[in-house]
């Protein structure tokens, strides 16, 4: 789950990381009010959506009066904002952040991510603030300074100093930076972050440092385990795909795609491979759907309904390799679902594994028009034909 910039800044502030004075507004009038409350002649109005590149998309505007703040908010709120990261449909802006301006001296980068190879978080800093870190990594990997964090011990002071010296900081700025580095590492661990970025981190003309923009992702499993109730309360369901959100509430993994063939598979690896083989055979998958290893009849039924709710689906491929999920349980789930909802499109089923004979028998005796397939290759071919 991702947080909005204004939410990230609330958490940063809790960890003592300096941010600019700001207020969230949900209406043009609130934006004007926010401008007056901040008391800074120059302020920035920033659209709050879960996508980067907002400046390029026109979602970040400088204002010099309450009227201007109101006008900018009027143009942003309730409209779709298209940025290089949103796709052509854009994202609806429901909130803006009105924030005091500041005198930018230098722009730096400070971020923390999981290093999968080390199995530990790594704190990263760069002199090239304001740019996507991936872009810096691709062009000039040596420009990114890194310090691995042993979560057992936390970030050590020498590691923060190494980054500060590497960035060429001095005096009070250096001291403020090392304190910030320690706070970011602590926040990453304590908040179960999957990503935490301050980009740019601004060194002001007076030598102070401040988080100008913030981005934060939280490990979904920590949320599922209810380890972060305060952060869970910040979830913005508007930023999530409604079908994916519904699927998650049933314990199913669903990702929307743009094709015509609905897929239902058990296990993530097999589900990805099923999408791949559909593409190889000349079709296009409408979704990724993993019903999980231990799905019960009810979950199978819900999964099946979810698939069919997508109007672009022309045919369905069910590919199950029964392990923990027994084929007869799955077959009964499909039969039950089809009895409850009218299904007008072809269904191709490939079953293998635990209790496969019982599963095939249930489908065979159900009277449903189901096309059965011998293996994955056969199933892909048949479902593409059926979708035509």
């Amino acid at each position: 789950m991702n947080l909005h910039e204004y939410q990230t800044k609330q958490v940063l502030a809790k960890y003592g990381i300096p941010t600019l004075a700001g207020r969230v507004a949900e209406s043009p009038e609130q934006a004007a009010e926010a401008y007056r409350a901040i008391g800074s002649a120059v302020a920035i109005v920033k659209a709050q959506i879960h996508a980067g590149g907002r400046g390029k998309g026109g979602g970040v505007k400088l204002v010099r009066s309450a009227d201007e703040a109101r006008d900018v908010a009027l143009k942003l709120l309730g409209r779709s904002l298209v940025t290089p990261q949103t796709g052509p449909q854009g994202r609806i802006v429901r909130k803006v952040l009105v924030e005091a301006g500041c005198d930018i001296g230098r722009e730096l980068y400070l971020g923390c991510v999981l290093d999968r190879r080390l199995g530990q978080p790594v704190l990263m800093a760069s002199k090239q603030g304001g740019m996507e870190i991936e872009e810096v990594a691709a062009r000039d990997p040596a420009a990114i300074l890194k310090q691995p964090i042993d979560v057992g011990y936390g970030l050590q002071p020498f590691q923060g100093r190494a980054l500060g010296f590497g960035l060429g900081l001095e005096g009070d700025t250096f001291k403020a930076f090392t304190a910030m580095a320690a706070a970011v590492a602590r926040m990453f661990i304590q908040c179960d972050c999957s990503l935490l970025e301050i980009n740019p981190l601004v060194v002001t003309k007076e030598g102070g440092i401040v988080a100008l923009d913030g981005k934060m992702g939280i490990d979904d499993r920590a949320l599922e385990l209810k380890k972060q109730p305060e952060l869970e309360a910040m979830r913005d369901v508007h930023e999530e795909d409604p079908i994916e959100h519904e699927a998650a509430s049933y314990g199913l993994n669903y990702v929307s795609m743009e094709g015509t063939i609905g897929c239902m598979v058990n296990g993530a690896g097999l589900a990805m491979s099923t999408m791949d083989i559909i593409k190889l055979a000349g079709g296009s998958p409408a979704n990724f759907l993993d019903v999980g290893g231990g799905a019960n009849k009810d979950q199978v039924k819900k999964a099946f309904k979810l698939l069919l709710a997508n109007p672009t689906v022309k045919a369905v491929l069910i590919n199950i390799f029964g392990g923990i999920l027994k084929c007869d349980v799955l077959a009964q789930g499909i039969v039950d679902a089809v009895k409850e909802i009218h299904v007008a499109i072809p269904i191709v089923v490939r079953l293998e594994g635990t209790n496969v004979d019982a599963g095939r028998k249930i489908l065979g005796e159900s009277g449903l028009k189901i096309i059965s397939a011998a293996d994955m290759g056969d199933a892909a071919k048949k479902v593409i034909e059926a979708a035509r």
Binding site: L114, R116, R117, G119, Q120, P121, E132, I133, E134, A137, A138, D150, V151, G152, I189, D192, S194, D219, D220, R221, A222, E224, L225, K227, N253, V255, M257, V265, N266, G267, A268, G269, L270, A271, M272, S273, T274, M275, D276, I277, I278, K279, L280, P285, F288, D290, G293, G294, F321, G322, G323, I324, E352, G353, T354, D375, M376, G377, A380
Partner: protein, 294 residues
């Protein structure tokens, strides 16, 4: 021959009195695995299913049974603690089946295990099986067949699919290892390839990767320099959209990195036989072995 586990492996099941632990402990015993004990804190002294002693701690279980491996079914909130307990008790191999451990707990676990000599397989994995001898995991035993092909995979059911293809073509397996789909893992491709490369009972290797991370690229470099046996590889997620987690916590293309395309490129350059269709992995292995024999 085999790697890591065989018929002499003495196994305890952590969480044996839970529904998943109990179900699979039974299936493991039916397959022939020596399940010598179970651990559920607070239920020590009971006898599970009338045959397996239950202990309060791993320490006690090891002392009483001489266990050499553990399979952990403990739920996500407490699983990292359970694996640490097994490692602290000196158990050399822990297979962690649990899905849904938080990433920060996995980091803590990884840091803890580095200071011990315990190897963890998983988490979020189907486990490990040496066909005809023992299985420590949740895979359906009957699809496997003893033989000399090593299988290593980041997936569960895709591994079953591959094994089924191999067995149908008469190609048995030495050992099959599911290393799991999480971003932080106890055992990676290189660890497993190293073991297969030096196992005289393994003639060739199937490796099934997927999008996310750079483990396949690192494995490719290792195969090029250190593995003299034929390797057939498949990478799942060729059609996965960027920025989306595809079921497995570790299966995500981030910042344009971790694509199937890049992984295939690295594997091909290392001389690995790459298969694009998941339906033809078994057939590709058969062909590689026939070509080698010819």
């Amino acid at each position: 021959m085999s790697i890591l586990v065989d018929k002499n492996t003495r196994v305890i099941v952590q969480g044996i009195t839970g529904s998943a632990g109990g179900f699979h402990a039974k299936a493991m015993m039916e397959y022939g695995t020596q399940v010598v004990g179970g651990v559920t804190p607070g239920k020590g002294g009971q006898t599970w299913e009338g045959k397996v002693p239950v202990f309060n701690s791993c320490d006690e279980a090891v002392r009483e049974t001489g266990a050499t491996a553990s399979v952990c079914f403990v739920p996500g909130i407490a699983a990292a603690d359970s694996v640490m307990e097994a490692a602290a008790a000196g158990i050399p191999l822990v297979v962690c089946i649990t899905e849904g451990i938080s990433i920060m707990d996995e980091c803590r676990l990884r840091a803890f295990l580095r200071r011990t000599s315990t190897r963890m397989i998983g988490p979020n994995c189907p486990g490990i099986i040496t066909p005809g001898q023992t299985k420590l995991g949740i895979m359906p035993g009957y699809i496997h067949k003893p033989g000399d092909i090593g299988v290593v995979s980041r997936s569960g059911t895709l591994t079953y699919e591959i094994v089924w293809q191999l067995s149908s073509l008469g190609l048995g397996q030495s050992t099959c290892v599911g290393i799991g789909g999480d971003p932080v893992q106890g055992t990676d491709f290189i660890d497993t390839l190293k073991l297969f490369a030096s196992d005289p009972g393994t003639r060739a290797i199937v490796m099934a990767g997927e999008i996310g991370g750079t483990m396949e690229e690192e494995a490719a470099a290792y195969i090029r320099d250190h593995v003299g046996k034929p390797v057939v590889a498949f990478v799942g997620g060729q059609t996965a959209p960027p920025g989306k987690r595809m079921g497995h916590a570790g299966a995500i293309i981030q910042g344009g990195k971790g694509t199937a395309e890049e992984k295939y490129k690295a594997l091909r350059a290392a001389g690995v036989t790459c298969v694009i269709s998941p339906a033809e992995i078994g057939a590709a292995m058969k062909k590689v072995l026939e070509d080698k024999a010819a």
